[in-house]
Symmetry: C2
Subunit: 397 residues, 2 copies
Amino acid sequence: MTAVLPRKELFEMPEGVIYLDGNSLGPLPKGAAARAAEVIEQEWGSELIRAWNTADWISLPKRVGDKIGQLIGAPEGSVATGDTLSIKVYQALAAALKMRPDRKVILSDSGNFPTDLYMAQGLMGTIDKGYELRTPASEDVTQAITEEVAVVMLTQVDYRSGRMHDMQAITDKAHTMGAVMIWDLAHSAGAVPVDMAGSNAEFAVGCTYKYLNGGPGAPAFIYVRPDIVETVEPALAGWMGHDAPFAMELGYRPAMSTERMRVGTPPIVQLSILEQALTAWEGVSMRDIRAASIALCDLFIAEVETRCPQLQLASPRDAASRGSQVSFAFEHGYAAMQALIDRGVIGDFRAPDIMRFGFTPLYIDADDVVSAAKIIEDVVNNDLWRDPKYQIKSRVT
Amino acid sequence: MTAVLPRKELFEMPEGVIYLDGNSLGPLPKGAAARAAEVIEQEWGSELIRAWNTADWISLPKRVGDKIGQLIGAPEGSVATGDTLSIKVYQALAAALKMRPDRKVILSDSGNFPTDLYMAQGLMGTIDKGYELRTPASEDVTQAITEEVAVVMLTQVDYRSGRMHDMQAITDKAHTMGAVMIWDLAHSAGAVPVDMAGSNAEFAVGCTYKYLNGGPGAPAFIYVRPDIVETVEPALAGWMGHDAPFAMELGYRPAMSTERMRVGTPPIVQLSILEQALTAWEGVSMRDIRAASIALCDLFIAEVETRCPQLQLASPRDAASRGSQVSFAFEHGYAAMQALIDRGVIGDFRAPDIMRFGFTPLYIDADDVVSAAKIIEDVVNNDLWRDPKYQIKSRVT
């Protein structure tokens, strides 16, 4: 039996807000504030250093990793948590390059989120052995996988357009060509069904503050395919990834599990909030989430296109190639988004002209979609975005 | 005018506890729980994604960095915060090696905290160009600085013994030999006066959950000497260190400040707790902290040596070469520490036989020291540590 969607009762949502930006920062799950207070006051405050044992902080990163694993088709023990997504990208890429020492090409695409490409550039500069980063257009990436390629590193769902790569087809092509596959699940985990084990990809990374509602700056995760984990070389060889962290040995010996991808002391408060946030997924199947997400996205496209012909759909029309967001291009998108936010419809803007709306069936339903479309119609068709106060580009995210 | 020490009223401390482990995890500052609740409920809960602007989350890492800078003699804008200390070690070391491309030796010492050495090993494996890590005994490190050495990387205060390196003398020697200097301030920041600018060292890193009371897994920091920051090459080239993170460019262009050492999305909840915790230092001079710390440590040594001749001082007797902790070697140290903790005297144990006690003048006074010494006397002289329940090695920190 699966839970009925949405589960609005599990989230704090301010009055008058239709939140279509859970793909940027998920809303506050009920219980998260209380859990944080408990960790801070009872565990840290009263137990002090003892809480590593008495409150079992020490196994918190693994507990959270296993809960995330359930949402991405990863077996128990295969997901490590901590750090930021950027750091996890670096770890995966550094380890993957070590697996193909004779190849010098990293293949990504121009639709990847910039920090993934930046981290690759930083790693290439650090190694300094003539690596090359190729970033063809998304639609050309499959044919760009050749036997020169050491690693294919892609974000499954494009952060601007919502275009979704075919994980299985690309992973298979990568493996056929002898390349290692890394998937960034930033816009996939909790958004679309993912079957990491079934895909056979070597690595996946992701963040938890979007669809997983872990809060601002919540820790990231990394998946390593279990059959290779014991040979994976950690570039970021931190003590928490050591086989015996508290033996305080001078030499690094990695843990014989995905735990070797942990680095430093875990952020206990934020991990605890995330652990609480993940309870919202109990009894929910990603298949039901996906079905609801497609229905919401299709409805939104229909409603907006009917009401506002000025907006150009910037996401795939075919649901099968789209994640859980819908983007529209509009020349005055920045100002229009400010006007929308001012009226309680919160989406976000991505340069140069993308208005981005995320759909999250845990707390968004069809009524929200229609209400949002009506407000968009008002803002766009009545030129409400022309108000000078919406022209000031002060927003940073 | 400086504040009177201690300032016990600024911290939550459980009844019956004498906390001598602030060098491992500082106690909960009053106001930190309320600040966390505000960030979670008002900022995240009500403002959602807008809080990056409306609650100024975006400048939180820099605000916190500047407050830490004041405690370590670092000018405004020279300290970046985020990630873990392990990550910051990697960043500093990778950048330092780039500054000395013709040298292949990293010099540390065998008293460094293991994760610093592990991160160096991981970096060396990643670069894979014949680097060598040397770890002589602490007392031999100065003479081991030769013209072969690219980088000297040391933790100023030894985590086990409390032995403190002479920052100025070692930095000067490193520079004379043409090496780059990195200081790990894990047991220095908030513990002893540090003059980063005066030292002329290129880099410093540190954590904030010890003497700075930022809470479990609080973010770390990195200092870069301002005159070199524009040429420092970030190995971990994350989007938050980009000159224009929200321009979403495909190529990495580092910020023209220490901000280039930021990596991914900052942990807003834990940074906010840390910001609140740092208010405990307002009006406090590190000179007064140091004077009080020396008095507490000297008193503790005298009290324990008088009462328990079985314990061997494992810290320098001379305050000038000691940080803000005192360690004693005792064959049954593990069990004895468990017995102490059971009686409210919380220190910690470091293999093989070190009982470690940290002294933190913000919330520890002479009465605490004498009371703790009496309980140590009881546990050691009356063999209370022999109770079977204290023999079980389940503690992980």
